[in-house]
């Protein structure tokens, strides 16, 4: 009755098999390069520089080919790439005079979320973003960008301050998800996310949300209720990670590649669903290859949208924010269901 998923989902230019072939070829080239380099260092007399250069060119071409037209799973890898710009890079590209504001005023400062005020073209704006680290040390310090409840409470506190200052809010989304920890539950992770969602939906100031990397479920959406939602070309946005989805649906986390395709988590998918308003193109090879250019692209898109949003009357803005989220989802209305026979009423009473 339904279209088989492997057909319905395979709309990309190449399928997973072709994508995997490129990955294997790349791995192959990288392995050979490492091998030749090892030989060079242990045998002073042999010069393999020429061969290495050829292989490196080949690897580079393969990386470009993958980045140019990634499969959904490869897009997930690109979105998670350690060298993509991080919240600090975007803050530096978006505003001057940035003043970070810390703490939720109740429990502690969550390093997984950065929030503060800055000047954009002379206008005060608030910036709130998930903070992934660039290396293991920084990632541990920042809890891999996975906020605890106090992170969402800090985010909402700074957004409320922006409202008071009539300052627009810019949010930057890049998280595997809200932290699934014992203390997070004790301090009300659900309540914190629910509070951020309803808080943003009522916030009386313009909001631009940008999905810059990994848009991991409720932990991402919690700072994602924007008047405009933008998404970098190779970012992803999903209800669950492909690994988590595969583990639940097939009891096999290794089928993440399939799950990534089934979940329809790429930027074009999300534009098609009416969830994302605009895709911000990434520089050739991906944001991780030219972080500065990616930051510039994000800053100019944000500037353009904020410029439009701030001219709109507040009530009209809030109404269109309402309509935007209120419409999302696909369903049918079959109308009224026929009355059951009277004897069948209150069957359970």
């Amino acid at each position: 009755m339904a279209v088989p998923s492997n057909l319905a989902g395979a709309a990309g230019v190449h399928d997973d098999a072709a994508g995997e072939r490129l990955e294997r070829e790349l791995e192959d080239a990288e392995r050979k390069i490492a091998e030749l380099k090892r030989i060079t260092t242990s045998n002073q007399g042999i010069d393999l520089a020429g061969q290495i250069a050829v292989l490196e060119q080949r690897a580079e071409a393969l990386r470009d080919a993958i980045a140019r037209d990634p499969t959904p799973w490869q897009t997930v890898q690109l979105a998670r790439h350690a060298e993509r710009p991080k919240v600090g890079d975007y803050v530096a590209g978006l505003v001057t005079d940035f003043m970070e504001l810390r703490g939720d005023r109740a429990f502690r400062d969550d390093p997984a979320i950065v929030a503060g005020l800055g000047l954009m073209d002379g206008r005060t704006v608030a910036v709130v973003g998930h903070a992934k680290g660039r290396d293991t040390r920084e990632n541990i310090a920042r809890n891999f960008g996975m906020p605890n409840p106090e992170g969402y409470r800090k985010a909402l506190r700074v957004m409320s301050l922006a409202e008071k200052l009539h300052a627009p809010v810019i949010t930057l989304i890049d998280t595997p998800g809200a932290f699934p920890g014992k203390e997070a539950e004790e301090r009300g992770q659900s309540e914190a996310i629910a509070g951020a969602l309803i808080g943003m939906s009522r916030l009386r100031t313009p909001i631009v949300a940008v999905i810059t990397g990994e848009g991991g479920s409720g932990g991402a959406l919690a700072i994602g209720v924007g008047d405009v939602v933008l998404m970098l070309e190779r970012a992803v946005y999903s209800v669950i990670s492909p690994e988590g989805c595969a583990a639940i649906l097939w009891r096999d986390g290794s089928r993440a590649r399939e799950a990534a395709r089934a979940l329809r988590l790429t930027a074009p998918d999300l534009v098609g669903f009416g969830i994302v308003d605009e895709i911000i193109p990434e520089p050739p090879g991906g944001a991780h290859r030219h972080p500065d250019r990616a930051v510039t692209a994000v800053a100019s898109a944000v500037r353009r949208h904020l410029g439009m949003l701030v001219t709109r009357p507040l009530e009209a803005l809030l109404q269109s924010r309402y309509d935007k989220f209120r419409r999302i989802g696909r369903l049918r209305d079959l109308g009224q269901v026929p009355e059951p026979a009277p004897s069948e009423r209150h069957a359970s009473e």
């Binding site: 009755m1 339904a2 279209v3 088989p4 998923s5 492997n6 319905a8 989902g9 809200a178 699934p180 920890g181 014992k182 997070a184 539950e185 009300g188 992770q189 659900s190 309540e191 996310i193 509070g195 969602l197 309803i198 939906s201 009522r202 479920s217 409720g218 959406l221 919690a222 209720v225 209800v239 669950i240 988590g244 639940i248 649906l249 097939w250 089934a262 979940l263 988590l265 669903f273 924010r321 309402y322 989220f325 209120r326 999302i328 989802g329 696909r330 369903l331 049918r332 209305d333 079959l334 109308g335 009224q336 269901v337 026929p338 026979a341 069948e344 009423r345 069957a347 359970s348 009473e349």
Partner: protein
């Protein structure tokens, strides 16, 4: 696909209760006479275990008799992702509809509790784990809008594993959809009472279930954001007994009260009075259509 329509609505077809006269309590393992269990609102008379209730039973146990008018019952999901895991999503929906006799994982409408008017909704955990897709999100949002236009308090009974994976990011965004609608309800000054039933987790917990002005829970209900196994794998340690139960949440200041099932109706009645909810029309024989409801013409008696 649409066979559920031809089924008598809300006919009991509970799979968790064997057809026999006796049923075994999953907690204390006592054999309980089925009729006694039903009389006791499906609470084990031996150990006080609160069995899960269907949406229809939930409404029947709290609402004034014949006061319920269902709304938006014709909303059914589509398959926007053409999602197939072990089965295609439409097949899963179809099976859930046959099994529960319901079109989706929530029943919404208007009703009265101790003669006070309210907009109500009850989730059905047996329908794909009470997961929230576009239809659940839409019915919650419409309920909030209905409460807003009527000025009647909103009461939602949650029972859900979270967002419905098969609808992908569209299901995630239902958290935002319900939030904008409940934000408006808050702006309008209309109270929202959220009742957390077993279980309330994931995207439902992290959206409307925890946006209540007053949050109640049933004894022993599992309530939390992340699943127990996920947390244990993340922190590499065993979680204590009673973690993420209603009692745990009360102790951590996250809910207002734990209400035993036998007290739920009087408690909600008292809260509706305290919230100044409108008195229901005296004649209950033929419930009147609420005036001004967004889709009152679709309303019908249960």
């Amino acid at each position: 696909m649409l066979n559920w329509i031809r089924r008598p609505k809300y006919a009991s077809e509970r799979r968790d209760v064997p057809a026999g006269l006796w049923t075994k309590c999953p907690r204390c393992a006592a054999l309980v006479y089925r009729k006694e269990l039903e009389r006791n609102l499906r609470v084990c008379p031996r150990c006080n275990y609160h069995h899960r209730l269907s949406a229809a039973d939930r409404l029947a146990t709290v609402l004034d008799e014949a006061s319920f008018v269902e709304h938006d019952e014709g909303l059914v999901p589509e398959d926007p992702l053409a999602f197939v895991d072990e089965k295609p999503y439409p097949v899963r929906v179809d099976e859930a509809q046959r099994r529960t006799g319901l079109p989706e994982a929530i029943v919404t409408g208007t009703g009265a509790i101790e003669e006070r008017q309210a907009v109500v909704g009850a989730m059905e955990f047996a329908f794909l784990g009470g997961s929230m897709g576009a239809v659940v999100g839409e019915k919650v949002a419409r309920s909030a809008e209905r409460a807003c236009s009527l000025g009647w308090p909103l009461i939602l009974f949650s029972a859900s594993g979270g967002a419905r994976m098969q609808e992908g990011a569209l299901s995630l965004l239902q958290m935002a959809k319900t939030s904008v609608a409940l934000g408006r309800l808050a702006d309008a000054g209309v109270p929202f009472i959220s009742v957390l039933c077993d279980p309330t987790t994931g995207g439902v917990a992290a959206s409307f279930a925890f946006q209540g002005d007053i949050i109640l829970a049933e004894p022993g209900a599992l309530i939390g954001f992340a699943g127990r196994r996920v947390i244990e794998q993340t922190i590499r340690q065993k979680l204590p007994e009673g973690f993420q139960t209603a009692e745990f949440l009360l102790e951590h200041g996250l809910i207002d009260a734990i209400v035993p099932r036998s007290d739920l109706r009087p408690t909600l009645g008292r809260l509706l009075r305290l919230c100044g909810a409108q008195v229901a029309p005296a004649s209950e024989a033929s419930p009147t259509q609420p005036v001004g409801a967004a889709s009152a013409e679709h309303g019908r008696s249960l």
